[in-house]
């Protein structure tokens, strides 16, 4: 039986759910205080996907309008998830300290994992960082990161 080389498969058409996934990724990276990585995805994979959509015949204005709508929805979804994570973090921390790992026996039909339950990683707080006095661009990075961070995660000075 001949297995086709991967390059012989036709490229999968870009779907709006893929666009949404990439938008969600951008929003999540911003939420985690990684604006540079977010821009990398935005200008890279997301831009490529949008270009592919337009090249395939989708109207550019329609794409722009849909993108705006999707970004707004995904930003809200990520922000809500961040708030939920913040609320759950203390509870998960309490659970983690009280959880006892079950012993694993080789060959047991119903082996249980020895890995203790891990708390959900906390959403990174945006802390204004001290830097070289002349670095205005880094101040702007901080400002843009703050704009994409829900109020619950911001430093209370």
């Amino acid at each position: 039986m001949i297995h086709p080389h991967p390059s012989q498969f036709p490229a999968q058409p870009i779907t709006w759910s893929e666009i949404a996934r990439l938008c969600r990724r951008v929003c999540l990276l911003r939420e985690c205080g990684q604006p540079a990585e977010a821009e990398h995805v935005r200008q890279g994979a997301l831009q490529d996907a949008l270009t592919a959509l337009i090249s395939a015949g989708t109207d550019a204005d329609f794409v722009a309008h849909q993108l705006e709508t999707i970004f707004a929805a995904e930003a809200e979804r990520v922000a809500n998830a961040a708030v939920l994570a913040e609320l759950l973090r203390p509870m998960l921390g309490t659970l983690a300290t009280g959880f006892n790992a079950s012993p694993v026996e080789v060959g047991t039909a119903h082996a249980t994992s020895a890995t203790p339950f891990a708390a959900t990683p906390a959403v990174a707080r945006v802390e204004p960082s001290r830097r070289a006095p002349g670095d205005i661009a880094s101040f702007i990075d901080d400002m843009l990161a703050q704009e994409h961070t829900p109020p619950a995660n911001r430093r209370v000075s």
Binding site: E39, R42, Q43, Q47, D48, L50, T51, I54, S55, A60, V63, A64, L67, E68, F71, A72, V126, E127, P128, S129, R130, R131, P133, G134, I136, A137, F139, I140, D141, D142, M143, L144, Q146, P151, R154, R155, V156, S157
Partner: protein, 383 residues
């Protein structure tokens, strides 16, 4: 209309036969870029502009934030060039012949059409050819909400190609900062540890600036500033001199010339024209009452921010409290605030005035930010 921001697709990644996503003003066709630092104030706006890669300032203008729409029936030749819309000083000079509109109130856009016209006027000032790409850093009040930001973006759509909205007190700190003295041992860098009080027409904004971009908790915006003082002074005048007929514009002039804070000084005699006749009126108490309300509104926020600062930084912070904006011209404001802090037990506070360039510091800081901003920090406006 909702707005959003999206980085424009890199020209190299866009197929040549595909329209860019926001094709209102294609970037690739523009011969040059103009960077703009824009302090969009309630009463006065300041615009600085220059080319990237230089420190030259090609345009520097302070413009009253006023738009005048010429009334119907005005005879030809009354208005220079028979213009239909006037801006700034020209609008004020011809106020009898125009419908005067203030685009902003309390620091945010109140009349969108007039705001758009004003922004278009600014664009024409900095780029008469109309062909340059305009990148503008626009000052906004501290803690301006999402709606206020979106209103500015919406007005700027199709006029500025890229924008960055940055809180005004932080821009003031950048503007006041002497770049030639950064790092010198005796230099109190305002960006490293200071508290700025920017008193404008619509808002008084206070901001802790301590080496990083201020968080919302480091900033307080009070919707009480020059315009509110004008209102109080006008009421005092009406109470003391009924039927005085003085316009708000005239009252503002009186405030700007004679305004002060602190104990009442009498007599403060002001010559005004009422009903065509010259009168000398005494305004010592009225001016003091109006100005001291500002102190009463600002002072609690000042102490709140001081106490929010990390304890190890407060002593140095108290040496670097800077008042800027039009309100810095109120006589005695630095001394009164300093005395109040001293009387309340704060250790050796020093309140300073920003200096003679008080009208320009926000715009100076905005232009510095425009020159320093990286490509991926600029926000492209989508319709």
């Amino acid at each position: 209309m909702t707005t959003a921001t999206l980085e424009k697709p890199n020209a190299a990644s866009t197929p040549a036969n595909v329209q860019p996503l926001n094709a209102t003003r294609p970037v690739a066709s523009k011969a040059k870029t103009v960077l703009v630092g824009f302090d969009l104030g309630t009463n006065k706006s300041c615009v600085l502009a220059g080319a990237p890669g230089t420190t030259d300032i090609a345009i520097s203008k302070v413009i009253p934030s006023a738009v005048g729409y010429v009334k119907d029936g005005i005879v030809d030749g009354i208005i220079a060039g028979n213009a239909k819309t006037l801006f700034g000083e020209e609008a004020l000079r011809n106020m009898l012949h125009v419908r005067l509109v203030a685009p902003l109130a309390s620091g945010v856009i109140a009349e969108a059409d007039a705001a758009r016209d004003l922004l278009q006027h600014v664009r024409t000032l900095v780029d008469p050819s109309g062909h340059a790409e305009i990148r503008a850093v626009v000052g906004i009040p501290a803690n301006a909400g999402l709606q206020a930001r979106e209103d500015i973006r919406r007005c700027a759509f199709g006029i500025f190609d890229r924008v960055l909205l940055i809180p005004e007190p932080f821009l003031a700190a950048l503007g006041v900062r002497d770049d030639g003295r950064i790092g010198q041992p005796n230099y109190l860098d305002p960006v490293v540890n200071s508290l700025f009080i920017d008193i404008g027409g619509g808002t008084s904004d206070l901001c802790l600036v301590q080496g990083g971009f201020p968080t919302p908790e480091d900033q307080i915006s009070i919707p009480f500033a020059g315009d509110a003082i004008d209102e109080i002074l006008h009421q005092e005048l009406d109470r003391t001199y009924p039927n005085n007929g003085l316009s708000r514009h005239k009252v503002r002039e009186i405030k700007e010339t004679y305004g002060y804070v602190g104990p009442s000084r009498k007599p403060v005699e002001v010559k005004v024209i009422m009903g065509g006749k010259a009168h000398t009126i005494e305004l010592g108490d009225a001016l003091a009452n109006a100005g001291n309300v500002l102190i009463d509104r600002i002072y609690p926020s000042l102490t709140k921010l001081i106490q929010r600062a990390p304890s190890d930084s407060i002593l140095a912070l108290l040496q670097n409290i800077i008042v800027t904006g039009g309100g810095s011209q109120i006589r005695g404001i630095d001394a009164v605030l300093q005395k109040k802090l001293t009387d309340d037990g704060f250790e050796a506070p020093k309140v300073k005035l920003a200096g003679q360039e008080f009208k320009r510091y926000v715009a100076i800081g905005a232009l510095k930010a425009a020159r320093a901003a990286r490509e991926n920090q600029w926000q492209v406006l989508l319709g």
